[in-house]
Symmetry: C2
Subunit: 321 residues, 2 copies
């Protein structure tokens, strides 16, 4: 019996195609009227797309909030574009947030494969079903960008998309690197560090390790960790913890320097695995690094001999609720 019974590897291998297909899903869907802010409501795999939208729009004038709760922020009104994202369409927190956003007269667009959400929402982007939500990150991110593009709120450069796809399609290299990382992680608790900008990517690494490998992991960001967490390294040891440092060539020069110095501090106590973020466009940097993390979590699952696809604890928990 193979460990990867539901073929997570095959799903991962299809990821570049998923990203490419996902952009055309919101065909013809636009937002009308003034938008002063964007709120993305979702949980887990469906919320990370919101974090990534916030990151993608970090150089735009429009504020983006991600809401992982039973209601939307109090400031939401008719000028707020609210994406309610639930892969299953039945996530109770997201359904509850949908009703709250509706009461506040927000402009709502739902991203879902179906479920209750598809019955409630007026504007829906239907995404292909049959995946684990976390494996559908392309479907749960690019359609939001597509809506904003359709509404002239954001530009998407073909060059950026092509650069991203080229990096994603370099799978053999990614897999080799992922296998090496998985080997270094096993037996220790990894802490994934990035710049504040790429924090959603570091969080994605954590949650993929949690869900695919059923394995503890944590994440944190520079420069903030320099002001507190770095003090805790003295009580760590290399048999228990290991650091993964996501180094982005576009990081602020002072962040690069901070990472360099912290690496020295950390290496006295724990191993530091450096990952060079690849690509020049933000889109390429985000998704090539996410993809490496996804493969790393997959190979860690193989080493731990756990099937990456089922998340039995989450399913059990839903039933208890």
């Amino acid at each position: 019996m193979p460990i990867d019974q539901s073929n997570m590897l095959g799903v991962l291998d299809d990821f570049p195609k998923q990203c490419k297909d996902a952009l055309s899903l919101p065909k013809g869907i636009t937002v009308k009227g003034e938008v002063t802010s964007i709120v993305v409501c979702g949980m887990g795999g469906s919320a990370i797309g919101g974090d990534l939208l916030k990151l993608y729009l970090s150089s735009s004038k429009i504020p983006v909030f991600v809401s992982r709760d039973y209601k939307v922020p109090e400031f939401v009104d008719e000028y707020t574009l609210v994406f309610t994202v639930s892969y299953s369409g039945n996530t109770e927190e997201t359904l509850s947030s949908f009703h709250d956003a509706k009461k506040k007269n927000a402009k709502i667009i739902a991203l879902t494969t179906g479920g209750e959400l598809s019955k409630l929402a007026g504007k829906i982007i239907k995404v292909p079903a049959g995946l684990q939500p976390r494996a559908a990150i392309g479907y749960l991110f690019f359609p939001m960008v597509g809506v904003l593009y359709n509404s002239n709120m954001v530009d998407i450069k073909n060059d950026d998309l092509n650069e991203m796809l080229t990096l994603l399609n370099d799978k053999e290299n990614l897999k080799t690197q992922a296998q090496e990382l998985a080997k270094k992680i096993q037996g220790k608790t990894p802490i994934i560090y990035s710049s504040e900008l790429l924090k959603p990517v570091a969080y994605r690494w954590q949650t993929q390790i949690n869900e695919n490998a059923k394995y503890p992991a944590f994440h944190s960001a520079f420069p903030e960790m320099n002001h507190n967490e770095i003090n805790s390294v003295s009580a760590m040891d290399r048999n228990r913890f290991t650091a993964i440092l996501l180094k982005d060539p576009n990081d602020h020069p002072r962040i690069k320097k901070r990472m360099e110095i912290c690496k020295q501090v950390m290496e006295r106590k724990i191993d530091v695995n450096e990952v060079e973020v690849k690509g020049s466009s933000l889109l390429a940097r985000m998704f090539s690094t996410i993809y490496l993390g996804d493969y790393t979590s997959y190979y860690l699952a193989m080493r731990e001999r756990v099937d990456p696809t089922p998340v039995q604890v989450i399913e059990w928990l839903k039933k208890q609720l």
Copy 2:
């Protein structure tokens, strides 16, 4: 030679008075003109005040962002109130953000003891010097609320303040509870869980343990952790990790139920230490729980035989930069 050479315990014991005094610091300081959003720039101990402001204003219509980076978000403009918070006044990230906010014509108010920031900023709230920034959380939070109160942007109820001070002054009970918690944490890595609303409080527990006890700790929130992290518990063991569950009577009923069920899941693998959040007003709940975490980190430092006050790694790092 005592371990607590700089008397962190005395500083902690004075915390209720600090909170009381802090509200009157921005006497006469107001914001003029329309404010559509608030951004708090700061790092470490100076940034947590921003997280707490966001939490405190969670039921108001005004969006609050906390920025822990070298620049402010792109949307900042003349309608944004930017608090630049740096206890020393020399935090390089905050100074850099100050210049960025100025370029964007934001309404800036600085909170600082002095330093470079006090020379640059037009509107300054001077806070008493001589503390570790993390021990000055009262001085770094309440003056922002005071400015908003002076500007008729927020109401502060005397009853809430009094409830908070009553709980903070119940020090003997807090200390007993903190000593017990410190004992249960020692030798393990604590993960502090709260509702999404109280996440800044859980983060404060983490960073106080990191800085005062020089000890690893992590934090996370419900319901989000139900969608990913809970899967990693199966690979944890009670000799390595321990959970601290901050249970707020005001939590959403579904969050309460989620915590109850997750406790059962976690207890198979790790100990779960439940902390009942006290108080009915948000202010009382926030600060009484923070205070318990502060004392816990102090007693953990005593058990670990490290002086809670100096943070040598941070100081060394600043010199290397």
